[in-house]
Symmetry: C2
Subunit: 332 residues, 2 copies
């Protein structure tokens, strides 16, 4: 019995379960020479997938209707006719939302269950960790003593960004949406301070108070009014990494906000969109550093694990309600 989740229709605004359809096939998959048979173990759900569900061209092509949705998946090799993989191996890569699938192995990375929990290959040792590390270093160019603000700080990427910034000697301020998340930022991830955007009376003033010397780096996962509040506090030569804009992903109209241009001129500041796949050459170096920090307990992580293949769509939808702490992963 093989289950598949296809994109039935494109979300208008916030995604709903009706955008997806489950297909169950009572069949046995077979493999040809050079192929492997995979069983999904962990499936990653990520905000950026929302973009691929629209039909607008983006940096990755949109998902096709009535075809399986794809995301980062850790899978177990349950049969192999490919000399690079053997039964029992675990792999990580972009795969379909299917309980079982056939692959040539192309683009898949073997991962080692003895070195780190398998789910981390979708999180701190996967795309989210690489995004945090490379976005911060390649665009942010952090220097010890500087101040960084991270939005979506309790999320998968944000929580890693904050920890790396602390390792590098920065003053780290996180913005998140509940007191529980703020507490976690400070106690678990070592942020210097946190702002709850849902209860803050004046985010701009709170940032000013916490960033006494101004903001040198802003790692932006959210966009919208939170980002406007940060802009008022940037220093000369500030670097703003636009990693995501979750606050705008479900907008039906082109979102409006404060004009950023006058702020960028006034402060000679830089704002740059970051897409991790453009930095593939630096993945080995980044993975090595992240693994070593993880082994030394300098880096910790948070996961929200949802159980069951059938819950993938709901887990994805919950991302937009901020229901996850850290990386949202579905265990099959």
């Amino acid at each position: 019995m093989i289950k598949t989740i296809i994109l039935k229709n494109r979300p208008q605004g916030k995604p709903t379960v009706s955008n997806f359809e489950f297909i169950t096939e009572d069949t046995q998959l077979t493999i040809n020479e050079g192929e492997i048979l995979l069983e999904a173990v962990y499936v990653s759900v990520d905000p950026y997938l929302r973009g691929r569900m629209s039909d607008a061209t983006s940096y990755v092509p949109p998902f096709e209707l009535n075809k399986p949705v794809q995301s980062g998946v850790v899978a177990k090799v349950i049969a192999s006719k490919n000399s690079h993989f053997k039964e029992g191996d675990f792999v990580s890569g972009m795969l379909s939302w299917k309980t079982q699938q056939v692959s040539t192995g192309e683009g898949l990375l073997k991962v080692d269950a003895s070195k780190a929990p398998l789910s981390t290959y979708l999180g701190v040792l996967g795309m989210t960790g690489l995004t945090a590390y490379l976005g911060l270093n390649e665009i942010g160019k952090p220097k010890a003593g500087e101040t960084i603000v991270v939005s979506g700080a309790a999320g998968a990427v944000g929580s890693v960004v904050g920890q790396i910034a602390k390792i590098l000697g920065l003053n780290v301020i996180g913005i998140a949406g509940t007191d529980e998340k703020i507490e976690m930022l400070k106690t678990k991830f070592g942020f210097d301070a946190g702002i709850n955007y849902n209860t803050s009376k004046d985010i701009q003033a709170d940032i000013k108070k916490l960033a006494a010397n101004g903001v040198d780096i802003y790692f932006d996962n959210v966009g919208g009014p939170i980002s406007d509040a940060v802009l008022y506090n940037i220093n000369q030569f500030a670097r703003i990494i636009i990693c995501g804009a979750i606050s705008t992903y479900n907008s039906k109209e082109t979102p409006k906000s404060m004009s950023v241009q006058p702020f960028l001129v006034k402060k000679s500041a830089l704002m740059q969109g970051f897409i991790v796949s453009n930095y593939a050459k630096k993945f080995p170096e980044a993975m090595k550093q992240l693994s070593s920090w993880l082994a030394e307990d300098k880096l910790t992580y948070s996961e929200t694990i949802v159980n069951g293949f059938d819950n993938i769509p709901n887990a994805f939808i919950d991302l937009f309600e901020g229901k996850n702490k850290g990386k949202m992963i579905v265990k099959i």
Copy 2:
């Protein structure tokens, strides 16, 4: 008789003549050891001065009320007790709006009237030329065959940007506000195409038509809706130089526009504020290149020369009506 223009009160919205006051003193200036006496010859009026007339802190401190306004000035040395300067020399630098003034010579550059017309030291061989050259090269990183859009293209900076981009082998599209300016862009400055934003029915569509392969570089002097229209047409890895935002300088409220962040993420694009004074180390190299292009007739320029010290405030105000073609200069 010495005339001075002081800032009487700060403009609210668009500047008016009532923001300035003329002071006439029937006096003779004297100089001490190490000083020089200067007579203004050409005074530059520039959009960025509007920022210094507000009391908000910017990258340069605001002008003080009841003190002379300052801008780029070419002056003649009419008396000298400083061995670096002799009577009859011409100098260029940041000086007060005064018919005569005393200086120590600090920060002044000697300019050569035999090499180029004196007014060019405020334009193509002055800050505007340096802004065009360094903004385009340092942030834009132009490559032959790419497409650039320049807003405020008929202005002092824009017209030089377009010409340099042509020299470097780019496809150059200019945006300006009258058919006469568009004609000048194409015939005088060698732009490949122009868009009149006042008569275009759909700027976004016009850019799309003219930039068949998309926009790689956007040199932005204006901000506002024109910039939004360009953003819809940027390519992956586009570079956007925010040199000015004249459309917002007179806003009484924080200007709103389309959120740029989603565009920057989608295209891995960069947007950076440019202030020429941060690149002072590169001035000699840039000046050398600009002078040589000018001497070889590869570079031409346009000036709007207004006559008379008394007309400085009006010339400044006219900038915001787009009444200048190229560099706006007042001849004393």
